[in-house]
C-alpha cells in the first residue's frame, strides 16, 4: 500500500527515469574504475567528466522546467543561479588550495595576492568549511530568487517583461563578476583547484565519485519536482500558468505559488552549478552570459516542456550534439542549434517527449481501428468519433506528460 502511494505521489514514468539514473550512477563509475584501460566496455576518463557535465546541465534544464513548464515563468536568467552555486563551490575549492598556489600564500587565493590584497574579504569567510560552502550553494541562489521573485511577482510582472528582467539580472551579475574588485577572480574566475574534501580533484576515483553524486542528485531533484507537480500545489501551479486571475478569485495567491516554484528551482540550479565546477575545473563570469540561459530554454523546449524528464533528455542530446558539432564543424554549431530550435518549435511544439507520446497514441488508435472492423458511416457517429479523437489526443498527451500541456510563452 505504501509503495502504491509512493507510485501515485511520484508518477510511474518518473520513477523509471530515476531508476535509470540510479543505474547510470552505479554502472558508469564502476565500468570506469573496475575495467582495465582499453577494455571495449570501459567508459574512458574524459567521457566520465563529459557525461557528468551533461547531467549537471540536465539538472539545470529540469529546474527551468519546474518554473517554465508548470508555472509559465519563462526565466531567461536561470544560468545566474547555476553560476552562483558554482561560485560558492569554487570558493570552497579555492580555499582548499591553501599554500599550494603559485604565490604559496597560506591565507589568500592567488588572484588576491596578485591584486595586492592584504586580507580575506568578509564574504570569503567560512568558505574553508565544506558544510558552510554547501549551505551557501543552496542559500545564495535561493535567497536571490526569493528577493527577486518577491518584488517581481508581487508587482505582478508577468510574461515578456518578466523574461526581460531575468535576463537583465544575469547580465548585471555577469558585469559585476567581471570586475576584479568584486573579489571573485574577475575575468579569469576561479580555477587551478587541487582538492575536494581532501581528495585530489583530478584523480579518477574522485571524478567517478563526483559523477555518481551528480547522477544521484539529478534523480533526487527529479523525484522532488515530480512530487511537487503531482501534489495539489502542482495543480495550482498549472492553474496559475493557464488562468492566473482565476486562481486569485478562488483565493490562492499566485505570487506566492510562483515564488515557491522559483526558489525551489533556483536551489536545484545552484546545486547543479556546484556539481559542475569540480568536474570542469573552472568557474568564470562567462557562465552568467545571457546566451547560456537562453540555451537552457532551448534544451528544455527541445526535450519537452512540462514533462520534467523531457528537459533531461533535451539537455543531454543537445549537449552531445554540441560536443560532436564543435569538434567536427565548429563554425556550423550555432546555425545547427538555431535551426533545431526553429524546427522543434514549428514541428514538435511539445518537444521530443510530446512527439513520442503523440506518435504512440497514433499507432494505438490505428491498430485499434484495424481490429475494430467497419468504420462508422453515419454523419452523427462520425461527429462523435471526431470528438473522441480530439479528446483522446489531449488525454493521451497530457497524462503521459504529467497532465501539463505547454502553453505559449506569454
Amino acid at each position: 500500500m505504501i509503495t502504491q502511494r509512493l507510485l501515485n505521489a511520484l508518477g510511474g514514468k518518473i520513477l523509471w527515469v530515476a531508476a535509470i539514473l540510479l543505474a547510470i550512477a552505479i554502472l558508469v563509475p564502476a565500468s570506469n574504475l573496475l575495467l582495465p584501460v582499453g577494455h571495449p566496455l570501459r567508459v574512458p576518463n574524459y567521457m566520465v567528466a563529459l557525461l557528468g557535465k551533461y547531467l549537471t546541465y540536465a539538472m539545470l534544464a529540469l529546474a527551468l522546467d519546474l518554473v517554465w513548464g508548470y508555472v509559465g515563468i519563462l526565466s531567461l536568467g536561470h544560468g545566474a543561479f547555476f553560476a552562483l552555486g558554482g561560485y560558492a563551490m569554487g570558493m570552497y575549492l579555492m580555499r582548499q588550495i591553501g599554500d599550494r598556489g603559485v604565490y604559496a600564500n597560506p591565507d589568500l587565493p592567488d588572484f588576491m595576492v596578485f591584486l595586492n590584497w592584504q586580507e580575506l574579504p568578509w564574504y570569503w569567510w567560512g568558505f574553508d568549511q565544506a558544510w558552510f560552502a554547501m549551505l551557501m550553494v543552496m542559500l545564495v541562489p535561493g535567497l536571490l530568487a526569493f528577493v527577486f521573485g518577491w518584488f517581481a511577482f508581487r508587482s505582478r510582472v508577468t510574461g515578456v517583461y518578466l523574461s526581460i528582467i531575468t535576463q537583465a539580472m544575469t547580465y548585471a551579475l555577469m558585469l559585476s563578476f567581471f570586475r576584479n574588485d568584486m573579489g571573485f577572480g574577475g575575468n579569469n574566475g576561479l580555477t587551478d583547484f587541487k582538492d575536494i574534501l581532501g581528495y585530489p580533484i583530478q584523480a579518477t576515483g574522485t571524478r567517478a565519485t563526483l559523477f555518481a553524486i551528480t547522477a544521484l542528485a539529478l534523480a533526487v531533484s527529479l523525484l522532488i519536482c515530480s512530487a511537487i507537480t503531482r501534489s495539489k500545489l502542482g495543480k495550482v501551479m498549472v492553474a496559475v500558468r493557464d488562468a492566473e486571475s482565476r486562481t486569485r478569485f478562488i483565493g490562492y495567491r499566485p505570487e506566492y505559488v510562483k515564488l515557491f516554484a522559483f526558489v525551489v528551482s533556483a536551489v536545484i540550479a545552484g546545486i547543479a552549478g556546484a556539481l559542475y565546477v569540480p568536474q570542469v575545473g573552472i568557474i568564470n563570469p562567462g557562465e552568467f552570459a545571457p546566451a547560456n540561459s537562453i540555451e537552457v530554454v532551448v534544451w528544455t523546449a527541445i526535450g519537452g516542456r512540462g514533462t520534467l524528464f523531457g528537459p533531461i533528455i533535451g539537455a543531454v542530446l543537445v549537449n552531445y550534439a554540441k560536443s560532436w558539432f564543435t569538434a567536427a564543424y565548429p563554425e556550423l554549431w550555432l546555425f545547427a542549434l538555431g535551426g533545431l530550435f526553429v524546427a522543434v518549435t514549428l514541428f514538435l511544439p511539445r518537444g521530443i517527449v510530446g512527439a513520442i507520446g503523440q506518435l504512440r497514441q497514433y499507432w494505438r488508435s490505428r491498430s485499434a481501428r484495424d481490429e475494430g472492423g467497419a468504420p462508422p458511416e453515419t454523419p452523427e457517429t462520425e461527429q462523435v468519433a471526431a470528438e473522441k479523437t480530439v479528446r483522446a489526443r489531449s488525454t493521451a498527451v497530457s497524462p503521459v506528460l504529467g497532465a501539463a500541456k505547454p502553453q505559449p510563452a506569454e
Binding site: S231, K232, K235, V236, D242, F249, G251, R253, T395
Partner: protein
C-alpha cells in the same frame, strides 16, 4: 436600513478611469439571502462594480461593506475570495488542462497557503462534496474529462460548480447564459434558483427571458449609477429604462 443586516452594502461609490466615470455615485444594498438581477446597457458599469466588490479595482470614493462589517476596499482578491465572495466571469474561465474533478478540487473550500496545499491529501469528505457538486451541475459523467473538452454551456456550469465548491456567502455571476441554447438557459435558471435558496446571489445578465425566469428584484444600471430598481415589470415599464435600454 441598518447596514448590519446586509450581505453587500455599497454607498456613494465612484471610480474613474482616465477621467471616464465608470461608476458614478453608485449605491446598492443586498439583503442576506437575497438574489438580485442587474441589467443595463453595455458600459453601464456592471463589470466594474463586480471588480470593485472582488477587490480587483479600488474605488476612488464611497463605502463597500460585506456582511455588514467588512470593509472590502481594504482587502485584495485572494482575501476577499477566502472571506466568502465567489465570482463567475463573463467569459467562462476554467482550468482547461485540468480535469473537471480537479477544477472543483482546486476551488473547494480549504486552506490556501503554500505548504498546506503542497501536503494536501484528498479526504473522503472532499470526494463526497465533489460528487454532490457534480450532481448539481449535471456533469457527473464528465468527471475525468479535461475541462478544455467541455462545451461552452458545460464550462459555464463547471464555473458555477467551482463557485459552489468555494462555498461563498455571496456569489457574483456575470452573464451566465451568454451563448447558451434555450434549453441550457432554462437549466441554468433552475440551477441559480436552487443556489439562491442557501446563498446570496448577484446576477448580471442581458437576457430578459432569463431574468424573467429568475423572478427576483431587478436593478437597472446606467452610466455607472442606479437608474431604477424593483420587480422586472416595474423596471421595464419605467420610462427612463425604456429609453436607455429597452428603447427600440
Amino acid at each position: 436600513m441598518p447596514r448590519t443586516d446586509t450581505i453587500l452594502y455599497l454607498d456613494g461609490v465612484s471610480v474613474a478611469f482616465d477621467g471616464f466615470k465608470a461608476i458614478n455615485n453608485l449605491s446598492l444594498v443586498l439583503d442576506k439571502g437575497e438574489m438580485r438581477a442587474i441589467i443595463g446597457p453595455n458600459g453601464a458599469g456592471k463589470t466594474t462594480m463586480m471588480d470593485i466588490i472582488t477587490g480587483k479595482t479600488k474605488p476612488d470614493t464611497g463605502e463597500v461593506f460585506f456582511n455588514g462589517s467588512i470593509d472590502l476596499t481594504q482587502h485584495d482578491e485572494a482575501d476577499i475570495a477566502t472571506m466568502g465572495i465567489g465570482r463567475k466571469f463573463q467569459k467562462p474561465t476554467v482550468f482547461e488542462s485540468h480535469t473537471v474533478e480537479d477544477n472543483l478540487l482546486l476551488a473547494l473550500k480549504g486552506q490556501r497557503g503554500i505548504f498546506p496545499t503542497l501536503f494536501h491529501r484528498k479526504s473522503s469528505e472532499e470526494k463526497a462534496r465533489i460528487g454532490e457538486i457534480l450532481a448539481t451541475i449535471r456533469l457527473e459523467d464528465r468527471r475525468q474529462d479535461f475541462a478544455e473538452n467541455l462545451s461552452h454551456g458545460q464550462k459555464q456550469w463547471l464555473e458555477i460548480g467551482m463557485l459552489l465548491a468555494q462555498d461563498p456567502k455571496l456569489l457574483l455571476v456575470d452573464e451566465p447564459v451568454a451563448g447558451m441554447t434555450d434549453a441550457e438557459t432554462a437549466e441554468t435558471a433552475r440551477l441559480l434558483r436552487e443556489i439562491a435558496r442557501t446563498h446570496s446571489v448577484v446576477v448580471v445578465e442581458h437576457d430578459m427571458h432569463f431574468v424573467r425566469e429568475l423572478d427576483v428584484k431587478v436593478t437597472c444600471l446606467h452610466e455607472g449609477s442606479v437608474l431604477s430598481e424593483g420587480s422586472l415589470d416595474f423596471v421595464s415599464s419605467d420610462e427612463r429604462v425604456v429609453e436607455v435600454y429597452l428603447g427600440r
